[in-house]
């Protein structure tokens, strides 16, 4: 019988940790893209107004 605290689980493997790191990186990158886009005036309404002028 395997002791409960030694039962292998996904959490004890490396893959979930890598997934968390990738997820955090994506959140940071996406947030950066939003800030970059807003600073460039890329919200759709702004762009649409610009093309109509």
């Amino acid at each position: 019988m395997i002791p409960r605290d030694h039962v292998p689980s996904a959490e004890s493997e490396g893959c979930p940790r890598r997934r968390v790191i990738v997820n955090r990186m994506l959140v940071v990158i996406a947030s950066g893209l939003i800030l970059l886009g807003v600073s460039m005036g890329q919200t759709f309404v702004t762009w649409l107004n610009a093309t109509l002028l």
Partner: protein, 267 residues
């Protein structure tokens, strides 16, 4: 606890989808909300639409040769947090597909299972019809053919405005044919547009593997009964592939699993 939460959530999911459709087309908030990419396929040209269709937006930037940092950032943030959850809870076209499939038994439509090998087509639609063709032709060709656009804007606007009716030609006939084709297909296949065509789903699909919100299956308790796949709106064998790129996070599988083997996890 996860199963109780899933039951409560799925009981309300159709209502959430209905409310989402109403909110997305509630007109009066347009003044400040059109700057927000819509979390679903809802046509910008719909007279009541309050958000900007992200696919339409991407095409506009492809036409002008610019990189849509803001739109990609919003879509990326949503994908990184919840994967394709917006497809399962907010997208009006996804809701329509589920409603149409629900008519299948009443209308005695045969079930038509399409191999998932064709799932890569949605990436072709994204790259070619949303990116390459608008960039080369300076015309938003996906929007011209989009069945949701036809349903929400093409048909109502032509019915209301006489000058638009005068311009109806072969393209409009083609749009109607595409819409009708999908409406019929929806009655035989689960969410065909989501699985094989939707470019918005194609953008979010890769995020399912790494999103903060995800599904997990306890293989030790799973009996592989297939109940999860039978109830899945996109026909995933959840017990084999809980983080499938097709998964729309509807959590119906959690509700029906007899062994409570499927869990919703957040990181």
């Amino acid at each position: 606890m996860s199963r109780v939460i899933a039951f409560l959530l799925t009981a309300k999911r159709r209502w959430v989808q209905a409310v989402s459709f109403i909110v997305m087309n509630s007109y009066f908030l347009q003044a400040f909300s059109k700057a927000i990419p819509c979390p679903g396929l809802n046509c910008y040209a719909c007279p009541g639409a309050i958000f900007a269709c992200p696919i339409g937006t991407l095409q506009h930037f492809a036409v002008t040769g610019q990189i849509p940092f803001y739109t990609l950032g919003v879509l990326g943030l949503l994908g990184a947090l919840v994967g394709r959850l917006a497809c399962g809870w907010l997208c009006p076209f996804g809701w329509l597909q589920e409603l149409m499939y629900g008519l299948r038994r009443g209308l005695h439509r045969p079930k038509w299972q399409v191999s998932e090998r064709w799932g890569w087509l949605r990436y072709v639609f994204l790259i070619v019809l949303v990116g390459l063709v608008p960039f080369l032709t300076h015309e938003p060709w996906f929007s011209k053919l989009c069945p949701q656009g036809t349903l929400q804007a093409g048909i109502p606007l032509v019915l209301v405005y006489a000058d638009l009716r005068a311009q109806v030609g072969w393209l409009y006939v083609l749009k109607i044919a595409i819409l009708l084709g999908f409406l019929v297909w929806m009655m035989s296949t689960k969410r065909p547009f989501c699985r094989f065509v939707c470019p918005l789903g194609a953008i979010w699909s890769p995020f399912n593997r790494v999103s903060a919100l995800r599904l997990a299956v306890d293989q030790e308790t799973c009996t592989q009964c297939g109940a999860c796949q039978r109830v899945c709106p996109v026909d995933i064998p959840v017990h084999e592939d809980p983080d499938s790129s097709r998964c729309i996070r509807c959590v119906e599988c959690i509700r029906v699993c007899p062994e409570a083997s499927i869990r919703l996890m957040g990181e």
